[in-house]
């Protein structure tokens, strides 16, 4: 056997045992019946998928979509100018990139906890406002949709900045000069020249933010405090407290299908735009 065949063996083993097998089991469980003491039992059924059509659960999917879309939109509005700034900086580009990347790589948990520390009733912002006499009562900033949205934006912002930066970095600046020479004002150059050119980066950034936001669990759990139930929380709940594995598996399968459809559409678009 050739060397590279041997070298790929552990990876095939990884794929079969730790990726394909778990997914196949989840898929199978989603068609089984909930066991009397948790776990799963025969017979095979599509009941879990039928339950998903209950307005209660449809609402959770819709809310997760709305939350992920809002997080993506805010990331785009906040991230685009930052990417533009870094791409156009005359020096220290790498330093600015590190500034974006470093907090991102350290620890997702710590970054989420930081907002808990800032936003809670006895947190820094409320303590400061109380001490300054601006407010009498602490503002309820934590454990609501806004806090979850803030956590998602803060957590995934670099995913938006990097791909947009990558496109803007390579962009031919003479195009902008040509627009200016032909009388375009800076803002119309931005909207009619720069942004259309940056579109592949914008699309990539939106996909990279939307996907993890859609399946987020940690952020809504920690900053939403159980008030904001998203798909991720629903899955976790079914496998822990509710002990309804078939239903949790069905929720996961639908989530995976949505993610796969998004990625597939994106990759097709990418290959079309290259071709």
């Amino acid at each position: 056997m050739k060397l590279r065949t041997w070298f790929l063996l552990p990876a095939w083993l990884w794929m079969a045992a730790l990726l394909a097998a778990p997914m196949a089991i989840v898929l199978a469980y989603s068609f089984l019946t909930r066991g009397t003491y948790g776990g799963i039992e025969q017979p095979w059924t599509v009941e879990s998928y039928q339950r998903l059509l209950d307005p209660l659960y449809v609402a959770i999917y819709l809310r997760s979509f709305a939350m992920a879309a809002a997080a993506t939109a805010i990331c785009l509005v906040l991230g685009f100018p930052a990417a533009l700034f870094i791409a156009r900086a005359s020096r220290r580009k790498n330093f600015y990139l590190q500034l974006v990347l470093l907090p991102f790589w350290t620890s997702f948990l710590v970054r989420t906890y930081a907002w808990l520390f800032l936003l809670r009733d006895t947190g820094l912002i409320n303590s400061a406002l109380l001490a300054l006499g601006i407010i009498e009562q602490p503002l309820p900033m934590l454990y609501n949709d806004g806090a979850v949205l803030l956590g998602l934006v803060y957590g995934y912002l670099p995913f938006m900045v990097l791909p947009i930066y990558a496109v803007l970095e390579r962009m031919d600046l003479t195009v902008e000069e040509a627009a200016a020479d032909l009388g375009a004002r800076p803002l119309s150059t931005l909207f009619r020249v720069t942004i259309p050119i940056a579109k592949p980066g914008i699309v990539a950034g939106c996909v990279l933010v939307f996907i993890p936001s859609l399946g987020a669990f940690l952020t809504p759990d920690l900053l939403g405090g159980g008030q904001t139930i998203l798909i991720g929380n629903l899955v976790q709940n079914q496998f822990t407290t509710a002990r309804d594995w078939p239903f949790g598996a069905a929720v996961s399968v639908v989530l995976m299908l949505l993610v796969a459809a998004l990625v597939w559409t994106f990759l097709r678009r990418q290959s079309e735009s290259i071709a």
Partner: protein, 252 residues
């Protein structure tokens, strides 16, 4: 417009960094409340005297080291294989693993482990957590090593083999030496993603395998505390340094 952009960028970087900086600053506060009273290292002492945090840190270190070692070996070999010849199935699997929501990875591994318990005599614990960490960190290692390989000249191995080297010798004495920085970068990245994980770990951990993120998470859910600030600051600094080293290695 340039000036506005610079002002905006300053605000943007402040938004990214200020939460972490204030978090770290208040870990040195002598008061337990969020009012500055003076400098102290009490919370760091309290952190090292907290048996749960210390045990969690030990467990996390063991898990991260074991998972990193395995993931780096599998990832390096896989990257080398993919560099030699494309494999859409394996590449697709890497991306599938990366885009799968963490909670789905967590429950699917839990379902797999529970399923094997029917035949195998083991339970949720350190080894299930280590396996789960290998599962999600392999793609990171593959991507880092592969990006390093892509910058290298494939002709060198062919030259070595024309001169009589075997495939193994060409890998061992030609490619591997210049691949070392990429492998170290991959290991450091795997180490950080492994050490930081909460969601997947919490699904597959047993009673004896509480990791540091799990302890911090449980404390954070009960409310913030300066001890978590101290632990967070320490984690941020240590892993910030590791990542900086990793970045250097990737550029080396």
């Amino acid at each position: 417009m340039r000036r506005w952009l610079a002002v905006y960028a300053a605000a943007f970087f402040a938004f990214l960094h200020l939460p972490l900086v204030t978090l770290a600053a208040f870990s040195f506060n002598s008061s337990r409340f969020t009012v500055w009273e003076g400098f102290s290292l009490d919370w760091y002492r309290a952190m090292f005297e907290n048996p749960q945090l210390v045990e969690g840190a030990w467990n996390s270190a063991i898990i991260a080291l074991a998972a990193t070692a395995a993931a780096t070996v599998v990832g390096t070999l896989c990257a080398y294989g993919l560099w030699k010849r494309r494999s859409p199935a394996l590449t697709g699997s890497m991306y599938l693993s990366l885009v799968t929501p963490e909670i789905v990875t967590g429950i699917s591994l839990l379902a797999l482990f529970q399923w094997t318990f029917r035949w195998l005599d083991w339970r949720l614990g350190m080894h299930t957590v280590i396996l789960a960490h290998v599962a999600f960190s392999v793609p990171y290692a593959v991507i880092v090593v592969l990006s390093r390989l892509r910058t290298m000249n494939a002709g060198l191995e062919e030259a070595a083999m024309d001169l009589g080297a075997t495939e193994w010798q060409a890998f061992r004495y030609v490619t591997l030496p210049s691949l070392i920085p990429g492998i170290i970068a991959a290991a450091l990245l795997a180490l950080t993603v492994s050490f930081d994980d909460y969601v997947i770990t919490s699904m597959v951990a047993g009673v004896d395998s509480e990791t540091l993120p799990m302890v911090i998470y449980a404390m954070a859910r009960r409310g913030a505390s300066p001890v978590i600030n101290a632990a967070s600051a320490l984690i941020t600094v240590v892993f910030g340094l590791l990542i900086l080293i990793s970045e250097r290695m990737r550029e080396a």
